[in-house]
Subunit: 376 residues, 2 copies
């Protein structure tokens, strides 16, 4: 299903076939936690800005409106009117980042809902069942995301449990995909590499999960407080042990700079809330550098955010207008800036793919890093 088209150094250009269409990699997935992109951006807008894959959160949708509601509505694709691939995370990360008190047991995790405090249990089988109800294109395995810095013995115990959970995920998905009333019987499973910041645990973990012949492999438990150098180091250490013929997904990463570096180390899939979150705070990515639209000097600046950008916002609205909307707390400010920032990320990936196709990724990366480290 994953076809490697071209390589330059460790950077990879590929395609990933799914029942909801072919994904060109490297790809950035646009995050719509609750089945909607924050900032009043709809699935119609996602098509306008070149989004290939939408990512939704299993835990959030389980709590509201409930995965059984979504199944009754025909699955998440129908529910949100999106016909391209959807990846759902497993809920594992949210259980650890959002839930209050939690108890981790061999069977799974007991915790309280962040919305109404009610008790929830989620284990590998429950996560797979929820994701099967959502009928996403790609489901993520249920894992434990260990807080960093982690204690070695705990990280070791945890990654081994995560592997046992992964096997249960695989079995449960096989069972679910064979049931007559399952909406997406071709749902795919990505495993998640864990092991905190310990090289030996990361490698041991990746070697074991590689043997399970999953549809893809994610690097989890990063971008949670470690330094950028530690993150790149883990990639350098662990990716040589990831199956070459399967896509690799760096979860929750990151800045344009992070993406350029991670692609150079062999990552194919990305997701991050940064473009939409930054946009909602008036912080804008451009091909000329980073920009804060709140700056006083834009007050009568009738040029677009980036004159060379073809996004709907830059084609129609000025810095002066956007700045005014932010100052006046108009929701439209967020919408227009989220659209721009997501377009920027999707376009960056398109340019990355063209650079690998053209065999000039090294120069491309160097040039872009210089720009992205500057401010407009």
């Amino acid at each position: 299903m994953f076809t490697l088209l071209k390589e330059e150094g460790l950077a990879r250009r590929g395609t990933f076939e799914t029942v909801h269409g072919t994904i060109q990699t490297p790809v950035f997935m646009n995050v719509g936690t609750l089945g909607a992109i924050k900032g009043a951006v709809s699935t119609l807008d996602l098509k306008d800005i070149g989004c290939q894959v939408e990512l939704s959160n299993t835990y959030h949708l389980h709590v509201r409106p409930g995965d059984k509601v979504i199944k009754e509505c025909g699955g998440l694709h129908k529910f949100m009117n999106w016909d391209r691939p959807i990846l759902t995370d497993s809920g594992g990360f949210q259980v650890f980042s959002l839930a209050g008190l939690r108890k981790i047991r061999e069977e799974g995790v007991y915790f309280n809902s962040h919305v109404d405090g009610r008790k929830i249990f989620m284990g590998p089988e429950e996560s797979m069942q929820i994701q099967s109800n959502l009928a996403s294109t790609i489901a993520m395995a249920f894992d434990e995301c260990v807080a960093l810095p982690a204690e070695y013995n705990y990280a070791k115990e945890s990654h081994k449990r995560t592997i046992r959970w992964l096997k249960r995920c695989k079995d449960e998905m096989n069972r679910l995909n064979s049931l007559p009333d399952t909406i997406n019987k071709h749902q795919m499973l990505f495993g998640i590499n864990q092991g905190a910041t310990f090289d030996d645990l990361r490698i041991e973990n990746m070697k074991e999960i590689a043997e399970l012949d999953l549809d893809g492999y994610a690097i989890g438990g990063l971008a949670v407080g470690e330094t950028t150098e530690e993150m790149y180091h883990i990639l350098d250490v662990v990716l040589p042990f990831a199956p070459k013929n399967k896509p690799r997904y760096l979860m929750g990463v990151g800045t344009p700079q992070n993406i350029l570096e991670a692609v150079d180390r062999g990552i194919d899939f990305f997701d991050c809330v940064m473009p939409s979150r930054n946009a909602r705070h008036c912080n804008i990515f451009t091909e000329k550098g980073y920009m804060s639209l709140k700056n006083e000097r834009y007050i009568t600046d009738m040029s677009p955010i980036d004159p060379d950008c073809d996004c709907p916002t830059c084609r129609n609205y000025s810095r002066a207008y956007l700045r005014h909307l932010f100052k006046a707390n108009e929701m439209l400010a967020m919408r227009l800036c989220v659209i721009h920032n997501l377009y920027f990320y999707n376009k960056l990936m398109e340019n990355i793919r063209a650079a690998i196709d053209g065999g000039y990724y090294k120069e491309f990366k160097k040039e872009k890093l210089e720009i992205y480290n500057s401010r407009v």
Copy 2:
């Protein structure tokens, strides 16, 4: 500039020529207070939903970002990227509804900004200057909007002052339109009829302002707490004295029922925040009746708000999805519902025009009133 195409009883079908294009009347103006429609709706969206005239608020734009900023940006049309007609109110209503302490003098009104408390003075000349800086298509005269119920002597004194202010507005606009650096030298002026709920004052006022040969005449000071019957009564009493060959604008009104009744009494222009405000609270207008999308029974209802509606929301999203978005506090809920409700209002006006054109307005009104008084 106003051409009466057809009449049925007192209902009027017309066209109003402006430098920014021809307005088909009766018309509903879509309110974008600060140069943006609340609910993350842009001027691109307004074109999609059949908006003919956008309405912005002089007082709000004077405070943020400042009318001089907007003039420097080339006027409100360029600022918000909208090439069709814009009507700006005069600030009069906001001075009375939003400002804290205020002193009304012959020269104008002294009051404090609702944003930062700073002292502002606005009189007829200032209002015209601000609106000239905004370069709207139609400017409204600066008036005093008297709180209801009003004391007779005060209402009399006030409406006479409003007439003196109107004459100053007309003189100031003539002066501004003749200046070389005025953006819209063809800006038009609508006068505003006042007189609280006193028939004789309303009539006296209308007779006097009719003599000024303005571009249009508004009925102000209504929809501020009086009963619907009182409002209709004022229209019945005053409209016979409004010039027949000029458009009539009922400010800040109203429900679909109000619009149907007011058209039947000879009103041509409307504006109201109701469609967008209701949408933001999940209250939806449909051609089957009024609907609250928060209702539990829509939880898995995959039909659109109204299967017969051609708005972008109804063509793409379901009741179940919209309800979920509201429950999850997603901004997208507001956007999609504001788009639907504004489309509903614009479409209602289109149908009203077709009914007058076709000579069946009486039946149309009767049929629609029954529907709009019901709930889905």
